[in-house]
Symmetry: C2
Subunit: 203 residues, 2 copies
């Protein structure tokens, strides 16, 4: 399998982390999204949405949307990270959709703006609302993790792999302080202590 990716991307890292957990070999093909490398004709032919990550399977099938790829790999390998009980699965789906709608635009996008010199006047005006919503998202996670070890209960799941990616680097750029969320900090340490763990910087 080939993962078309940009190393600092949390969306890409989710997949790298899941592959590490499942023991899957994946070849990384890197693109610099800040230089338009995912807007070329060749990349758009691979994925018309023009976004990494994209997973190219050995048979040539091409999958996009990070959380769709997580679900595919977990199902294909019958991973315990995605239990078969339908209510538990629905809870995992909930976290994955919530991540894309209520977490990523506020935490990942703001991190990107602030660490890639992507601020402008309009983004400056949008920032306070994004940070407020991002802190609300982190608070919701922290409240959940106050009651239990992981996001769906006391077992690690795809929801943790998904949410870990951008949460553990939320401080980059300076908009968020994880010290405000002690239960998230404890959860991050628990994930980092798994024997299959790899950091976001590891190719």
């Amino acid at each position: 399998m080939v993962l078309h990716d940009f190393l600092p991307s949390g969306n890409g890292y989710k997949i790298r982390l899941l592959c590490a957990c499942l023991g899957l070999n994946v070849t990384l093909k890197e693109y610099d999204i800040t230089k338009g490398e995912t807007r070329t004709e060749a990349f758009l032919a691979l994925s018309p949405n023009g976004k990494i990550p994209v997973l190219e399977l050995d048979n040539g099938d091409v999958l996009s949307e990070s959380n769709a790829i997580l679900l595919y790999l977990a199902e294909q390998h019958a991973s315990l990270l995605l239990p078969t009980d339908l209510i538990t699965k629905a809870t995992i789906y909930k976290w994955l959709f919530w991540e894309q709608y209520s977490h990523e635009p506020n935490i990942a996008a703001v991190r990107f703006w602030l660490t890639h010199n992507a601020m402008n006047e309009l983004k400056e005006q949008m920032l306070p609302d994004r940070v407020q919503q991002g802190n609300a998202a982190l608070q919701l996670m922290d409240d959940t993790l106050k009651k239990q070890t992981f996001l769906i209960g006391d077992i690690i799941s795809l929801a943790d792999i998904c949410l870990f990616a951008y949460t553990h680097v939320a401080e980059e750029g300076g908009a968020y302080q994880l010290s405000d969320f002690p239960n998230i900090q404890r959860w991050i340490k628990t994930i980092e202590s798994q024997d299959w763990f790899i950091p976001i910087t590891q190719r």
Copy 2:
């Protein structure tokens, strides 16, 4: 089952439409989100994210995030709208995540702003970029539907139920013109002609 919902919401309508297709009885409990009715203590106890739709099952379990609820109901009823082939499922997941990240914030949010007197100076400035991205999203759908009847091929799926909801009302508020997207218009008519179809206004 009780669906906690707001009638004009496309996210709620997805679930009403799927229930109609599957022949499921669901009791509607309506909230006016413009009057803060989903921010009360009672609602937040039901769903800490403070958003409709929420599906309360007969056993008391509570599900949130519209697309998570779609996947749950389709799996529970082994619906042909969610085929079991893993690559086909991954394609459906892709459309569902793409809807929440690349379609809803540009098309549904803009419709809400313009039809609920929710504009302000900042949103006026954000509008051109949102509309540009919304038109790009509609174009991607139209390009797909130029080649095939439905979003994943020639069979209707959960991806169509999901994307139909906000796409067919995209013109409300005046930001989008569906006449620019003839393949989407044909697809809308095809879905509206299904014998289980119900309109967004139907309780």
